[in-house]
Amino acid sequence: MLSLLLIFVAAIYFPGVIVKVKAIFAGRKGPGILQPWYDIFRLLKKGSVYSSSSSFVFQIAAPIYFTTVLVAALFIPFEESIALFSFTGDFVLFAYLLGLGRFVIILSALDVSSGFEGMGANREAFYSMLMEPAFFILMGSLAMFTGYTSFHDIFANLHYNSYFSAIIGIIASYVLANITLVETSRLPVDDPLTHLELTMVHEVMVLDHSGFDLGIIKIANNIKFVLFSTLSANCVIPQALDLWIRIVMLLVIQAAFAAGIGWLESFRARNKMAMNAQYILSINAVALILIFVAMIIKNKI
C-alpha cells in the first residue's frame, strides 16, 4: 500500500518538475508544478471525439491502456514494504501488462488508418521490441544475484549481501533510467514537445485521441514514468536507514530524476531516427554488463 501511495504522490509533481526545469534552463519562468495536471483535468471534463473511420478498437484502447498501467502499479514494492500483488515471477506479468497497454494503443493507431499513425505505431513496436531484452536481462541478473524472483523479494534482499550490491544497484538503476526514457517517449528517442507528425513516435499514435481518452492516456504516461523511476530508486536506496528517511529519499530521487530529464532535454538534440535502434541496443549492452557482474560476484564464471 505504501508504495502505491508514494507512486501517486510522485506522479503529482514528476511531470511538473520536468517542465519547470526545462523552462528555467530556457530562461523562462515556466508554469506551476501542477500545470500538467490542470491540463489533464481540463481534458477529463471534455467529451471524446471519434473519427467516423475508426471502430470500437479505437474506443476501448485508452481505457485498457490506463487500466494496464494502473494494475502494473500494484506490483511495484517500496523496499521491504510489500506491494499489493506479489508472487514468484511477478515482474514478467508487470512487463507484459505494460506490453498489453502498448499493444492496444498500437491497434488504435492503426485503426484510424492515418498515414502518420501507422508510421508511429511501427516505430513504437520496433523500439519496444528492442527494449524488452534489456528489462529481462536486468531483472534476470537481479534475480540471480539475490536468488529470488519477485519484485518484493528481489528488492528486499538486494542490499543484504555486501557492497557488491552497490555496484549492481547503480548499474541496474542506470539501465532502468534509460528504459524509462524509451518507455515514456522522452529525449533522446522521442520528442514529446514536437508538433511535427513525421518525427513523432508516441505522440503521433495518440493524435486522434481527444478529451477524456487523451486525459487518461496522459495520466497513465505520468504513472508509467514514476513506476520505472521507483524501480530505479529501489535499486540504490540503502535499507539500513529509517523508513521515513527512505521515503524522503525516494521522493527526492524522483524529483532529481525528473530534473535530470529536464536538464537532458535542455542541452542536447534528439537522436536521428535511424540511430534510435543503436541507442536502445547500447542499453541492452549495459544490461549485459550487469549480468556479467552478477555472474562474477556469484562465482558462476
Binding site: K22, F25, A26, G27, R28, G115, F116, M119, L187, P188, D191, L193, T194, H195, L196, E197, L198, T199, E265, S266, F267, R268, A269, R270, N271, K272, M273, A274, M275
Partner: protein, 513 residues
Amino acid sequence: METITNTLSYISIRNQESISLSKIPILTYGKFSTEVIQLMKEPQVHCVNYFAYPDGEILKFICCLADDKASDIKVFSHELPKREKMQLTSITREVYAFHIYEREITENFGVEFIYSPWPKPVRYAFNRADRSKVVNDYPFYKIQSEELHEVGVGPIHAGVIEPGHFRFLCNGETVLHLEIQLGWQHRGIEDLFLKKSALIQRTVLSESIAGDTAVGHAATFAGLIESLAGISIQDRLNIERTIGLELERIAMHIGDLSNMCIGLAYQLGASVFGALRTPTINYSQLWCGNRFGKGLIRIGGTHYPLNVSLVEALEKYLNNFERRFITMAEKMFSLSSVLMRLENIGTVTKTQMSLIGAVGMSARMTGIERDVRKSHPTGAYQKLPYAPVFDISTGDVWARAALRRKEIVASIDYIRELISMLKTNNETPAKPLFEDNIKLSSNLLSVSLIEGWRGEICHCAITNDQGKIQHYKIKDPSVHNWMALALSLRDLEISDFPINNKSYNLSYCGHDL
C-alpha cells in the same frame, strides 16, 4: 530582317535598367530556343525570368538570362499569334530550370510545350487558361506497387505555417520521391499590381508578396519603378535600404536557426536564437514602426531616415547581438548531438542545384557562386562591394545552417561599414515621391534584381503607350528552390523531412503569388 536577327539575337541590360521594347530583337522560336539553350550551358548564366504577356492578338515572350561574369542581363524575345491551339517545343527537355516558367506559361495562356518532361500545373492562378483544372485534381506522380506506400502531409499543417501539400512515396521509412504541390495560397498578386494603380497601393502590395521578405520585395519594386520613371535616388537612401535588407537577412537567418533547433529538440539553441531574433525585429520597429520593415521602403525617399540616435541604437544592438550570437553559435556547432542531425542529411549536389536553377542560399550552400549583391550590384552594393560567403559546399543540412551562421556575421560587418559610410554623408533625407511627381516612360521593359535573404528576387515590368504598367511579373527565389527540397529528400528517412524543410524555409506565398 534575317541579317539583323543573326547579328543581334539579344539585348544586354544592367540590373534595374530600362530598355525600350522596340530595341529587343524578336526571334523565331527555333532560333530563340537554340540561343537560350546554348547560353544556359555556361555555368555563370542562369535564367531570372521567362514569361509571356498578351499584346493585342499576339502573345509576346520575354526571357531574361543573368550573366554573373558580365554582370548583365541578356533579354531575348519571341512571339506567337493567339490561337485556339498554341504549341511550342519544350526547352525544359534540355534545360531543367525552365520547367517552372513553361508550366506557368501553359497554365496562364494555354500554350502547350510539347515534349515537356514535367507538364504540371503550378499554382492554379485565378486567371488560368483552363478553368476545368482545379487544385484538387493535381496529377501526382503515382506508384503501382504493393510494397511502397504514400504519405500525404498538408495542405493544413500542425504548426502555424502556410498551406502546401507534400506527397511522399516511401519504402518503409525511406523516401523515394517527394512531390510538393503548391498553389493553395494564391492571391493573384500580379493581377492586383495592374488593378491597383495608385503608387502607394502597389508599394504596399509589394511588401505583402512574401511577408518574411517585406523589405526585399519592396526594395526590388522600388528599384523597378525608379528605373521606369528615371528617378535617381540619394546615396543616403541607398545605404539605408541596404541596411534594411541586411537587417532582414539577420532576423530571418537567426529565426531559422532557432526553428531548426526546435526541430532537433535542442532547447538551448531554440531559446537563445529565438531571444536574439527579438532585438533584431524590435530594432526594425524602433526604426520604422513595423517589426518586419513594412513602410520602410518608399519610392524616391523615406519617411524614416536613420538619424543620429537611430544609428547609435543600431550600433548598440549590433555589438550586443554579435557577442551573444557568436557564443551560442560556437556552442551549437560543436555539440555532437546537434551535428549528428545536421551532417550528411538532405545532401544535394552542385550539379543538381545548377540544373534546377537554384538561387541564393540554396545555390551557395553547394558551392555555386551566385549572389546578386556581387554579380549584379545596385545601390550601396555598387559603392561598397560585398564579399559573399562562398566557402561552404557540402550541400547538406549542416551547410544550410552554417551558411546562415556565416552570413549573419558577414551582414553585421557589412552593416558596420555602411554605418561609417552613412556618417560621412551630409545629404538631407528626401521625402518619398507621390503619384503626381512620377511619370513612367512608355513602352519600356525593366528588370530589377535584389538579393533577398532567401535569394535573388526578380521583378519585371512592361509599360504600354500611355506609360501605364501593362504587365508585372514577380519571381520569388522559392520558385526554383522548392525543387531543391524535393531533391534533398531522395533516399532520406521521412523523419528527416521537417529539419530539411526548416533548413530551406521556403516561401509558400512567394511561390503562389
